[in-house]
Symmetry: C2
Subunit: 252 residues, 2 copies
């Protein structure tokens, strides 16, 4: 970690670099409080604005985060481990448990908002589900909250004719959830495809997931296929990247 | 997309919101050039700095990107599709098509740098590989370049005693690569675990991957296990998130 050319950096960048080095060396560990604006102002003999900019650099890098009225802390990465393979196995949803229940170990992951409706399929949804654009689709919007913090937005799309009149169109889908109901309807999911990408959040996502600065989202598009190879569900998920590790077990 | 309270936003934010809406509506598509600083200055009757700040907002959100000497363009997401379960990806089992189409099939992904060496295992590497901290580990650093742009950094760690004297310790590992050599050594990988997360890049990652503003990285930690359940390789990958979609096929 040579500090080559550090003398040429603006002051706030030099202060940020010093704090970053202290975090990387372990001097400040995950969850530790960092020196505040006033303390940095005095230690470094700079304007308050300069001290604030230094902390902003670390916040925008996702290394530090503000807690209201408390100060700035080293971000602690305590992820939910989301197991892509085990959680989709029939043993999980086949026995009446939700696919989401496995995720949070001893932590409290709950749905705090659910909205079910019917809408015309957008072009990308129609393409994935093999429908005509504009065909009716059942949509299930949910928001998941972990220890009081929103961490996941989920929108599930299903062909409306497939699930018409079933509990899938209700808020409560019953034991085993949507996949158990699809099985009863003769469209048991036997394979899934998950596509994962990451990008910075939109303004709406930042608001809905209450994201701190410097936090990307992960996007998972999961398609469920029945035994005939028909795509029976598309689930678009948006995850707070600071809250999740995705785990996939693969047999060679 | 109600523009509630837009009148209270600073000018540069209002200009950014207008451009964002134009991009979301499709008026500017992926790869299209956006109005430049001078044009925005004239259209909106603002200072050049204000116009520049507006474009910076979009760049930091990862929606737009600068091309040197050419201007600012709508970011085009043309991902490389990385199939986590290659064995299954050979089969065509689904009727549903992908959300993010495979643009990269005909593109040119090459290793432009490789460095092989031996080093004492760090604590996390030792833990994963079941070694004593400080035990000798063979490390293989590679950088992958797509169409001339670095997109992936990969560091592979293997127990040194396992691969001593084999081509795994050479730059060229031979046909089938490291996993084929491990098989010949009696440690054929039969199972893999991939752990995926996302965060903002460090300064070093930004430099090595030549990342634009507003671009997170994805981190994949892949562990290979042999038939005895021994972890024989840990591969830590850092991906330009704007370049990749990760795909995982899962059987229920």
């Amino acid at each position: 970690m040579a500090k080559q050319g550090a003398g040429e950096l603006p002051k706030y960048q030099r202060i940020a670099a010093e704090l970053r080095a202290a975090i990387e060396s372990g001097q400040y560990g995950p969850g530790d409080q960092l020196p505040g604006e006033n303390q940095l102002k005095e230690t470094h003999q700079v304007a308050l604005m300069t001290a604030r900019q230094a902390l902003d650099v670390l916040k925008n890098e996702g290394i530090a985060e503000s807690r209201k009225g408390k100060g700035v802390f080293v971000r602690a990465f305590r992820p939910v481990r989301r197991r892509g393979v085990q959680r989709l196995s029939q043993e999980v949803w086949g026995s009446g448990r939700s696919v989401w229940a496995d995720d949070a170990a001893d932590r409290d992951l709950v749905v705090d908002g659910i909205e079910v409706g019917e809408a015309p399929a957008t072009e990308p949804v129609a393409r994935v589900l093999g429908l005509e654009p504009g065909a009716a689709v059942c949509t299930r919007h949910r928001r998941f909250v972990l220890d009081g913090k929103p961490v996941l937005l989920s929108v599930s799309h299903l062909p409306a004719e497939l699930v018409a009149g079933s509990p899938v169109t209700q808020e409560d889908t019953g034991p085993g959830g949507t996949y158990a109901r699809l099985a009863e309807l003769g469209h048991k999911p036997v394979r899934f495809r998950e596509e994962v990408r990451s990008r910075m959040p939109s303004a709406a996502e930042t608001r809905q997931l209450e994201l701190s600065a410097g936090t990307p989202v992960m996007r998972i598009c999961r398609t469920a296929f029945d035994g005939d190879g028909r795509a029976v569900e598309l689930n678009e998920m948006t995850l707070d990247a600071a809250a999740y590790v995705l785990e996939y077990d693969i047999e060679a």
